[in-house]
């Protein structure tokens, strides 16, 4: 009989404890797997979000971080200069402002008003229903694309009209409201889940300010031409003016990785190490107690001529079976747990709706398997030492007496 078969039979003989040990490893393993997913989940999620915008360069004011909205002055001229660069394929200006929506029979609702030169909304929204900002007939009321939560809250659909009034910051002035026609409803992955967003054309945005607005933009998107690449295009944009800073998506992601949500990365490392140590300690305790209980059995096997190596191999297989089966069960359990934990964390106020904390990747799986393999080996070390150094005759005598 092979060492594996012997280990399997032992596990089956002591079924209750084996099942409980497997359940324990599965639950703790699931937590460990989740922590591994959490360690890079936000970064991967953010990278997916930003790489699916259709633009690969972000331009902001020079004295700020890539994701903040420091105003770009003389924005139209800048847009034309950037668009003229041979490394650049397309450009879009974005401008944002706080606004209030007035709906009949309801209290005014705060919203964010976005003005975009890209009528398809690339980089800002993903169309869900209706059309984009190109669908407004010439001369008609300016069109708007609104966020789904806002549409649900106010019962709006494509074709509805909304009344929007921009809020003037740092001033006691107030603007009169403008009417916008809802062209479509969309997901805004960079905005929080329940955010009220109204996106319109730059003309619509200007109209909300009574037609008088300075030539600023909150930030700018650019798309590089394939042969040049994002890095070269960003460098070319940076050379245009000293008061702007262009970042390629890769640079934005790297900056996000350094600065954003590092707490979760650190807590995941701490918890991952703790759960690995915890499961190692518990499996080692279980195996040790189990071996102590079976000392007579082990001594008898040794007396029958079974080699120390074989005994050690059997115990190692026992550990591998407990940890291996538990580890495999930990994967679906971990996915399930990740869904629950992600749902909890995504209730954080202001969190972009497209951002997730737990993202599956092959590296996490490989690391999970490696941690479990080390756990099995380390947990089996002491019981193996106990079993192979057993005084056979003395143990058998004690067992009989």
């Amino acid at each position: 009989m092979t060492a594996f078969a012997l280990a399997w039979r032992t596990a089956r003989r002591y079924r209750a404890r084996a099942v409980l040990a497997v359940v324990g490893v599965a639950v703790i393993g699931a937590l460990n797997f989740d922590m591994l997913m959490l360690s890079r989940g936000l970064l991967l999620s953010f990278a997916t979000m930003i790489n699916s915008t259709g633009y690969d360069i972000r331009v902001a004011g020079a004295s700020t971080l890539p994701l903040s909205r420091s105003p770009l002055t003389d924005a139209t001229t800048l847009m034309n200069e950037v668009a003229a660069l041979p490394e650049v394929d397309a450009v879009a200006l974005i401008r944002t402002a706080g606004a209030v929506l007035a709906a009949p029979g309801r209290p005014p609702e705060g919203a964010e008003l976005i003005g975009s030169t890209d009528p398809a909304g690339l980089g800002i929204w993903k169309q869900a229903t209706g059309g984009d900002l190109t669908s407004a007939p010439n001369g008609a009321t300016a069109s708007a694309v609104i966020s789904r939560p806002l549409a649900v809250r106010l019962g709006l659909s494509a074709g509805s009209t909304i009344s929007v009034r921009v809020r003037i910051v740092d001033s006691l002035s107030a603007m009169p409201p403008v009417t916008l026609r809802v062209a479509g409803i969309a997901e805004f992955p960079f905005e929080s889940q329940q955010a009220s967003i109204v996106a319109t054309t730059m003309d619509g945005f200007k109209a909300a300010y009574g037609g008088v607005l300075n030539d600023e933009a909150s930030f700018m998107f650019a798309r590089s031409r394939p042969p040049a690449g994002a890095e070269a295009a960003a460098d070319a944009i940076n050379r245009l003016r000293t008061d702007i800073h262009a970042f390629s998506n890769e640079q934005v992601i790297a900056n996000f990785g350094r600065n954003a949500f590092t707490y979760f990365r650190q807590i995941s490392v701490v918890l991952s190490a703790t759960t690995a140590a915890f499961s190692m300690l518990l499996v080692a305790t279980l195996l040790t107690v189990s071996v102590n209980q079976r000392l007579g059995e082990v001594a008898a096997l040794r007396a029958l001529g079974i080699s120390r190596r074989r005994i050690a191999s059997t115990l190692l297989w026992e550990a591998a079976l407990l940890v291996g089966i538990g580890g495999v069960l930990a994967l679906p359990l971990g996915e399930l747990l990740a869904t629950v934990l992600d749902k909890i964390l995504r209730r954080m106020p202001g969190l972009p709706s497209g951002l997730h904390f737990f993202i599956f990747e092959r590296n996490a799986l490989v690391l999970h398997a490696a941690v479990l393999a080390v756990t099995a080996v380390v947990a089996a070390m002491y019981p193996v030492w106990l079993a192979v150094h057993l005084p056979i005759a003395q143990t058998l005598r004690q067992e009989v007496s």
């Binding site: 703790i28 209980q293 954080m348």
Partner: protein, 290 residues
């Protein structure tokens, strides 16, 4: 260098102000107004108390004014900002408004971002909420909230996340504990059989096992609390060093210690009772049979 600046005590207005120059070169000029700088700004800009610095409301350096560094302060620990470098300075509100006002818009010289209000009965949160609701109703363009309700949603979420992780850990530990108790019960199979044969009732044996489980659980939970209490210093020092803050990241309060014991004790007792029941349901003769 760009830094966040706060106005003084009664009303606060945040803005980006640019630190243009610093040094003792201006020390002999007419006494400039005072400014307090954060410990982090002092270190980063290599400033000293008594230095004169020039601040401006924008990156172009327009309407720049000179200030004397009157002192250094440790920024109030703010969980919402622990990830941010606290490059900050505090000015008297009048100085701050003079620095940031827009000459084209006279209303900017009389505008603040936030007004903090202390009510006579500050401990009563319901009166703060009533005041806030009343103020919001009377002044539609002003957003007002009781401090207890503001900005704590993030921490409610973090608390739920940690609770969920703790619950999963308890489930995993319970399975391991059950496995250990089953092994331990198996070990004492013969002893239990003999006790049963000499007439000791199932109830008595069960009570003994439950009390044993209770003692082990209490001892284990107490050991866990002691380990956590010993670890909190190291955890806090690590994160405080990592984020350059005085924020407390981990605190083993009596409430938390009691909560963990309250969870551990029933788990230990139930695990012991379940494991012993696997023996007690069998007949006494089958327990002593080899």
């Amino acid at each position: 260098m760009t830094l966040a600046v706060r106005g003084s005590w009664f009303a606060v207005r945040c803005a980006f102000v640019v630190l243009l120059l610093c040094g003792r070169a201006f020390a002999d000029a007419a006494a400039p107004p005072d400014v307090l700088v954060s410990r982090q700004l002092l270190a980063k800009a290599h400033l000293k108390v008594g230095d004169v610095v020039t601040l401006s409301g924008d990156s172009a350096g327009s309407r720049a004014r000179r200030f004397r560094v009157a002192g250094v302060y440790e920024p109030t620990p703010d969980p919402m900002k622990f990830n941010a470098e606290r490059i900050e300075a505090r000015l008297h509100l009048d100085d701050m408004l003079a620095l940031t006002e827009d000459p084209a818009d006279p209303s900017t010289s009389d505008a603040v971002s936030v007004i903090n209000v202390t009510l006579p009965n500050a401990a009563d949160q319901s009166s703060a909420r009533t005041f806030s609701r009343s103020l919001s109703a009377r002044t539609p363009f002003v957003v007002s909230a009781a401090t207890a309700d503001a900005d704590n949603a993030t921490f409610v979420v973090i608390d739920r996340f940690h609770t969920a992780i703790a619950a999963v850990t308890v489930i995993g530990s319970t399975a391991f504990l059950l496995a250990l108790m089953v092994i331990r019960a198996e070990e004492r199979k013969e002893t239990v059989g003999v006790l049963r044969l000499i007439g000791i009732s199932r109830k008595t044996i069960m009570t003994e096992v439950v009390v044993e489980g209770l003692l082990v659980a209490v001892a284990g939970a107490a050991a866990g609390v002691l380990i956590a209490a010993a670890a909190q210093g190291a955890v806090n020092r690590f994160f405080q060093h990592r984020y350059d803050t005085t924020l407390i990241f981990m605190r083993v309060s009596p409430k938390i210690a009691l909560r963990s014991i309250a969870v551990a004790v029933p788990v230990g007792v139930v695990a012991g009772a379940v494991a012993s029941w696997t023996l007690l349901r069998r007949g006494a003769s089958s327990l002593v049979r080899r």
